[in-house]
């Protein structure tokens, strides 16, 4: 018989462990080490919580107090120490023993500590007053162990003198529990008692001396409830003793250890004895029969064993540390059958079923008492609905399986008849009339029929540890480091995935996905073992089950959690006891608890349903959830916002401040205004104004400025919108406020000279007033000013006067309506919210559009395909056999003629330009590119075409003389359906990022701009003709196209500037126009969207360039931006210096066309600003902006697309 492996839960490595104690409540064990340290471990998390190091020499005994935060230890330094584990300090030390202390134990209720020692005494101490209250003598050799009885006033001890003694300590209890009530007479009576020991001590007296071991006795223990004692000794025996009130006797001996037995105990709940010894075994004995039940052989000598008082856990200390283990699996064997019921095995080994629709448990159907060993519960169960049979496996005796037919009507736990059985590690039904039995010893799977005869044998890859049914004629083979999908019929591997330590496999009901559970990881894979996501838990994962919608619920030791396929996970609830999930239905989670009792837990699936709806963009479902669920927490809101759906988050939020933030984020001014009104704070109006301005909603801008009392800005706004009435009003307001500056400004805006003169006069600025009057031809007024000032006209010396400035007149009364803005659009979600969502009003509509675009060339293709589908018949599998039979010599040439190549299929199968290139269909590829991104100039991407085409086919040398066989390289390696095969497209997104993008960034940083330009342009061209695998990648690719476009633009601008100034830093010698242009270009270089370090570079260059060219104001603004946004400390330092210098005289020597506050983009052809709202054209591929006049020319950035051409958008995903 091969030794069963232990169900080890925790192991620690250390020096020899001599004493162990479980904490009664927390998942802790204390370990006393031979090295003088005491360790405190959390065995659930596997972490060392603390170390206690005050003993001098080995520590042999430890014990936790049941309720106080303390423990006791005893060691070879003769000392007993009492510790507080909260304060992590030794509270006090009890001294008195004259030799090694072997064991220490707390009393279960009295404040007592019991110790045994090599000084041949057993002592009882009171830890409250820290005194020795009793010394028990009698053993005449080392006392190895002494324990209190769990209820009675008894102590049992074991000694090297080969005896076990039972002591009565009732006297001690009397004396100490009621010392005052004891009269002098009583004490006298006690003192004179004839039972007093040799020291006249009557507190503890020997009750029984048990002799039977003929070598030293190492350990002894009381049974928790029965009058039984178990002892272990160097005679390699474990002895069971029984006692009555008056006598005690040996019952039986357990033989089996072949070395000293060092410790033993009774199982807290079951009729078992467990012993450990120096023969490196842990042995389990049947208490009633005294026969060996199990024996675990390990690698180290065992010294001690302890049992958890409540849970099914034991700890054994050995030469190299401690192991915590279970004696039996708690996981109840269960399976959901295809008939929808749960079949499971109870702790009594009865088979029952559970009906989820009726929520009812069946009576026991059969009893499996005879299966395996009585102490080992069955491991797995598999149900076959058509035969109403179960297949059960048990790990006992090297593993066995049993096929049992269930009775038609459950009538109780009857013994099954007519069972089939055999050896095997695991067994599952794979078909109606077949089951697979895996034998780990032979690494072999037998497929058996219901008569239990083998129909097929499969040998497994080495390392296979378990098998699991994987749907429809397939099995999942589990090895320590991988899982393999195996086809039983074809006897071959279909797929393999490297994943460590898988213990359980949970399939969705349609076997489309599986969750692979290992100790700490959940890996979600598809039917073909493609990994979708994986997640890690720090504590043990126990079980999992799939929701119908594709959400996995799983349980850990103390939580029920969920994860979406994409790995997004969260907690559903915490629970005290571990449960094993079997099914989720609506709000109910069905599970089995540790005692294999079915339970139904109510959960709230709102959170994961909501996330799922979000992932699937099922807005109606989301809305429904929002409407019906009461609680939508802050976490959901921030989740939605973080995922980039502020407009959805907006729907949940009540808090005005948050609503305001979200509204701004998604550009919903209406809500923002509403919230700003509610909150009415300066800062919010300011931000609202900025956002409204950006959107061109000047009515809200006006309101925001009014609220801010920002008169200057208001006036300017009215000027800009041409609202003279309001400007007049502003003048009045200025007058009213007595703000001369503002009045002056408004009169200028209005062109109201009279008012201005009046105001200047009022401000006693007669000179200016006169000047104004004179220059505007108001001579009369001028004269009157002179008169008022008492000056003659010839005393005034006037500068030459130019034409008076005329205030601009509004051509269009734009102030009446808002500027036309691009509709921010109602999100699909909001549409649903407004109830206007039609059935197909969503995103798919867009895709339809694109399909239409592709229609023309696909129509032809489709027809062809249909024809061939009938005539040529690619799926000829069966025909071949039938005809081949007839005559091998004559391969009929009936269906003569060449076929169409796989490349033709590619072109038919895909709307992606790259696939057409690979197919060699260059013309259709160009057509597609032209439609999708307006490509017209293909020369620059010829290299890309060639690359893709080259990568699409290989040349297999075959018969000499004939040209090599051309084979077509697929990206769909596993696909054989000819309508789905697609070519491999070289240079995927990942490789572009790793190569060109990285190179581009480096070149940017190291100032190799010529090369940088090439790199980024290459990125654009690589992406233009490419294919991606997922929607996420598509998003990334689109982002990359945009960013590469911006970099290309930025570098082009800078190169243009360098060309202009012939790479000189000092440009003072150049013409003013050139200088002005150079300064502008240097400023524009900072505009494109680049990563922060690169913007920093651009800003730094622009700042220095401006500074050297005496553009101090510009330099200052760049310096400010640099300080604010820069990522380089040294640059910032310089910027601060320049800022200080510039602030003294912030003016520009030249006026350049660059307003850092204005919203504009830079035209990629002329490198001039395109202010928002002014006409422009865009490259349909990379989105670069151009002045309108460039429409129809080739984009300077990608060099392929036509600016402003109509385009449906790039298509990279099939």
């Amino acid at each position: 018989m091969s030794a069963p492996t232990m169900l080890t839960k925790f192991e620690s490595k250390s020096s020899r462990a001599k004493g162990i104690a479980f904490h009664p409540k927390r998942p802790w064990i204390l370990v006393a080490l031979h090295s003088s340290t005491i360790q405190l471990w959390d065995y659930r998390m596997g972490t060392l919580i603390d170390r206690f190091e005050e003993h001098d020499g080995p520590v042999r005994g430890v014990d936790f107090h049941k309720s106080q935060p303390m423990f006791v230890s005893g060691g070879d330094d003769y000392k007993i120490k009492v510790w507080n584990y909260n304060t992590k300090r030794c509270i006090f030390t009890l001294t008195g023993h004259l030799d090694y202390v072997r064991t220490v134990f707390f009393h279960h209720e009295l404040p007592w500590i019991l110790s045994s020692s090599d000084d041949q005494t057993i002592r009882i101490w009171n830890w409250q007053n820290r005194t020795l209250i009793c010394t028990m003598t009698g053993h005449n050799h080392y006392v190895m162990c002494a324990q209190f009885h769990p209820k009675d006033d008894l102590v049992v001890s074991a000694s090297l003198d080969q005896s076990v003694r039972v002591w009565d300590i009732s006297g001690l209890r009397k004396k100490h529990s009621a010392p005052t009530s004891m009269s002098f007479e009583d004490q006298m009576a006690r003192a004179n008692s004839s039972q007093a020991d040799v020291f006249g001590n009557t507190d503890a007296i020997v009750k029984f001396v048990l002799e039977g071991h003929d070598r030293a006795v190492n350990w002894v223990a009381f049974h928790p409830t029965l009058p039984l004692i178990v002892s272990a000794g160097d005679d390699r025996l474990v002895k069971l003793w029984r006692m009555s009130e008056t006598k005690a006797w040996e019952v039986d001996t357990c033989r089996g250890h072949f070395q000293n037995v060092d410790a033993c105990l009774f199982h807290p709940h079951q009729d078992l004895i467990i012993s450990v010894g120096e023969d490196k075994t842990i042995r389990v004995w049947d208490l009633n029969k005294r026969t060996s039940v199990q024996s675990f052989k390990e690698n180290d000598r065992f010294w001690v064993i302890a049992a958890h008082p409540e849970i099914n856990l034991f700890a054994a200390g050995h030469d190299n540390g401690v192991m915590v283990f279970k004696l039996e699996r708690e996981r109840p064997a269960s399976a959901i059958s295809q008939n929808g019921k749960l079949y499971y095995i109870t702790k009594e080994k009865h088979v029952r079923s559970y009906d989820f629709t009726a929520n009812s448990e069946s009576p026991s159907m059969v009893s499996l008492k005879k299966l395996g060993s009585p102490w080992v519960p069955p491991r797995t169960i598999s149900h076959n609905p058509s035969e109403n049979a179960i297949l059960v496996t048990s790990p006992a005796d090297g593993g066995s399986y049993e096929l049992v037919h269930l009775p038609k009507d459950a009538s109780g736990a009857v013994e099954p008849t007519d069972t089939k059985r055999g050896p095997g590690t695991s067994a599952v039904f794979v078909q109606r009339n077949r089951f697979a039995v895996f034998n780990s010893g032979h690494l072999q799977i037998d497929i058996r029929d219901l008569q239990n005869s083998v129909t097929k044998t499969i040998s497994c890859p080495s390392g296979t540890t378990d098998i699991s049914f994987a749907g429809h004629g397939t099995l999942l083979l589990i090895t320590a480091s991988s899982v393999i999908l195996y086809d039983i019929q074809q006897k071959k591997r279909l797929a393999e995935l490297a994943v460590n330590g898988v213990k359980y496999v949970v399939w969705t009901s349609d076997f489309s996905h599986a969750a692979l559970l290992s100790k700490h990881n959940v890996t979600i894979v598809t039917r073909h073992l493609q990994q979708i996501s994986t997640l890690h838990e720090t504590i043990r994962i126990k079980s999992a089950t799939w929701d119908d919608t594709g959400v996995l619920l799983y349980s850990t030791l103390n939580h029920i959690k969920y994860t979406l396929m994409n790995g997004d996970n969260g907690i559903i609830c915490t629970q005290e006891q571990t449960s094993y999930l079997v099914k989720v239905k609506g709000w109910n989670v069905y599970c089995l608890d540790r005692h294999a009792k079915p339970k139904v837990l109510r959960i709230d699936p709102t959170e994961y349903r909501f996330k799922l709806a979000l992932v699937k963009r099922n807005y109606e479902e989301m809305l429904n959830i929002i409407k019906t669920s009461k609680l939508v927490g802050q976490s959901i809101i921030s989740y939605v916002q973080k995922k980039g759906y502020p407009e959805i988050a907006l729907q949940f939020v009540q808090d005005p401040q948050t609503r305001f933030e979200l509204a701004l984020e998604c550009g919903n001014l209406e809500v923002a205004v509403e919230m700003a009104k509610t909150l009415d704070r300066q800062q919010l109006w300011e931000r609202l104004g900025a956002e409204a301005l950006a959107q061109g909603n000047h009515q809200i801008v006006e309101m925001a400025y009014q609220k801010q009392r920002s008169f200057d800005k208001l006036s300017f706004l009215y000027l800009a919108t041409g609202d003279r009435d309001k400007l007049n009003r502003m003048t009045k307001i200025a007058e009213h406020r007595g703000d001369m500056q503002s009045l002056f400004q408004n009169t200028i805006y209005l062109g109201d000279v009279e008012k201005r003169i009046e105001m200047l006069k009022e401000a006693d600025q007669y000179a200016l007033a006169y000047l104004a009057a004179k220059s505007n031809g108001l001579d009369e007024e001028a004269a009157s000013i002179l008169e008022a000032a008492g000056i003659e006209e010839d005393q005034v010396k006037l500068p030459t006067l130019g034409e008076p400035i005329v205030a601009p007149k509004a051509v269009v009364p734009v102030f009446r309506i808002n500027w036309p803005t691009k509709g921010t659009g109602t999100s699909a979600f909001e549409k649903v919210l407004m109830g206007e969502a039609g059935d197909e009003d969503f995103a798919p509509a867009e895709t339809y559009g694109e399909d239409n675009v592709d229609e023309p060339e696909r129509v032809g293709g489709l027809d062809d395909e249909d024809d061939e589908g009938d005539v040529e018949g690619w799926d000829m599998g069966e025909d071949v056999d039938a005809e081949a039979e007839s005559d091998f010599v004559n391969v009929e040439a009936s269906e003569a003629g060449a076929g169409s190549s796989e490349a033709d299929l590619w072109a038919r199968n895909s709307p992606i330009a790259a696939d057409h290139v690979a197919a060699g269909s260059l013309e259709t590829a160009m057509q597609l590119l032209n439609r999708q991104v307006g490509a017209v100039n293909f020369k620059p991407i010829q290299w890309r075409f060639e690359e893709i085409y080259t990568a699409s086919r290989t040349f297999l040398p075959a018969t000499p003389g004939l040209p090599p066989l051309v084979n077509y390289v697929r990206r769909t390696v596993d696909e054989t359906n000819t309508r789905k095969v697609l070519p491999l497209i070289p240079r995927d997104l990942e490789s572009i990022i790793a190569t060109e993008v990285t190179a581009g960034k480096t070149q940017m940083r190291t100032n190799k701009l010529d090369e940088g330009l090439k790199s980024y342009r290459r990125v654009l061209q690589l992406l233009m003709v490419n294919a991606v695998a997922t929607a996420n990648e598509l998003d990334d690719a689109k982002k990359l196209i945009h960013s590469a476009g911006q970099y290309t633009l930025a570098i082009s601008i800078e190169l243009e500037r360098r060309k202009l100034v012939s790479n000189q830093a000092d440009i003072s010698s150049l013409s003013e126009d050139t200088r002005k242009r150079a300064l502008e270009l240097s400023a524009y270089f900072t505009m494109p969207e680049m990563e922060a370090p690169h913007v920093t570079l651009a800003l730094y260059a622009a700042m220095n360039f401006a500074y050297k060219s005496k553009q101090l104001s510009s330099a200052l603004s760049f310096a400010n931006s640099l300080i604010e946004r820069g990522t380089n400390a040294k640059f910032k330092e310089n910027a601060k210096k320049i800022k200080t210098t510039c602030e003294r005289n912030p003016s520009d020597a030249l006026e350049v066309e660059f307003d850092q506050f204005a919203e504009f983009e830079v035209c990629a052809a002329s490198y001039t600003p395109i202010y928002s709202g002014s006409p422009s054209a865009t490259c349909p591929f990379d989105g670069t902006k151009y002045q309108a006049k460039y429409k129809g020319t080739v984009c300077k950035i990608c060099e392929v697309a036509e600016i402003g051409a109509p385009a449906s958008g790039i298509r990279l995903l099939g």
Binding site: L494, E872, G873, W874, M876, V880, E883, A884, F888, V889, V891, A893, A896, A898, G899, S901, E902, G920, E923, V936, N937, F938, K939, Q942, F945, E947, Y949, T950, A951, R953, T954, F955, L956, P957, A958, T959, P960, G961, L962, P963, P964, L965, V966, N967, V969, V973, D974, E975, T976, V981, L984, P986, T995, Y1190, K1191, G1192, T1193, V1194, E1202, A1205
Partner: protein, 297 residues
């Protein structure tokens, strides 16, 4: 008559060596060991190996003055492949020989190959169809059917052959060729066959290594594929097929292939890859002309 090519037949070893692509071994084979009835077929295998090694003149001189149609076929093949062209006089000779000696296996193989490479596929297939249970002929049929994209007929031929030739090496190889077209799990199956040949010292050849590398490339295992190609180059650094496929591999891996293209140009300027690329280049230029920007810059 026992099958001379069967596993224990006299010709089994040299036949396998030929189909494993160990042509030089075949040429160097000690032919004195063959019993008299097998001298001719063995010699023909050697001549076919020479053809594979482009030793056309040697073939012509060895075939000269021999009366058997087998030698005539070898001479025709040597003449044609020395200077392949549709106007080659060898073509007419091949057609004539095919008509008169269509039952001869070597005539079927050699003339069939000549006709097929000259583009006369139907004629070639008609000739090959006359074979009397020759695996070599079946292999040629499979290849021709595959090259004209008739996977169905190729499979039919191979399945039929498998019925009577069972696990013969050549059947496995032909099935692997088919598998490389089918893809999916068949890639892996083909890989196993090629890899078994390529990685055993005794059966290793440029051809088997190249085949293994190609199957790995199709399976998406680029690094392994590259290693196998390198192994092949270790045997023959200038092999055109190896170079051509390396160009494909390196293109997929995003490496520069200019040098390898030059090397291929030198090794075999008429390699299919180069011809294809040249054709696509002109196609590109022609197609690209159709589009011009609305406004010339």
């Amino acid at each position: 008559m026992s099958d001379p090519y069967s596993a224990d037949g006299e010709l089994a070893l040299i036949h396998n060596a030929f189909h494993q692509g160990q042509y030089q071994n075949v040429v160097d084979w000690d032919s004195s060991s063959f019993s008299s009835e097998y001298t001719l077929p063995a010699h023909l295998l050697q001549l076919r190996a020479r053809l594979a090694l482009h030793q056309y003149d040697e073939v012509a001189s060895e075939a000269k003055g021999k009366s058997q149609p087998d030698y005539a076929a070898a001479a025709i093949a040597a003449e044609y492949f020395k200077k392949p062209s549709e106007s080659s006089p060898a073509l007419a000779k091949a057609e004539k020989l095919a008509e008169s000696q269509g039952e001869n296996m070597n005539v079927e193989i050699l003339c069939g190959t000549v006709l097929a490479s000259a583009g006369k596929v139907d004629e070639a297939l008609a000739l090959l169809a006359k074979h009397q249970g020759s695996l070599d002929v079946v292999a040629v049929i499979v290849q021709i059917e595959l090259s004209r994209n008739r996977l169905d007929l190729a499979k039919k031929a191979a399945t039929a052959a498998r019925k009577w030739a069972q696990d013969n090496l050549l059947v496995n190889i032909a099935e692997s060729w088919i598998g490389m077209r089918e893809g999916g799990e068949k890639y892996q199956a083909a890989y196993y066959v090629f890899e078994e040949l390529a990685q055993a010292e005794a059966t290793q050849s440029v051809q088997s290594l190249t085949s293994q590398a190609i199957s790995e490339l199709h399976l998406g295992r680029l690094q392994e594929s590259e290693a196998a190609f390198e192994q092949a180059q270790g045997l023959d650094a200038d092999n055109a097929d190896v170079l051509a496929n390396l160009i494909v591999l390196n293109t997929i891996a995003g490496k520069d292939v200019a040098e390898q293209k030059k090397a291929l140009q030198k090794s075999n300027p008429n390699h299919q890859l180069l011809l294809d690329l040249a054709e696509k280049k002109s196609e590109f230029d022609k197609a690209a002309e159709r589009w011009t920007p609305k406004v010339k810059a």
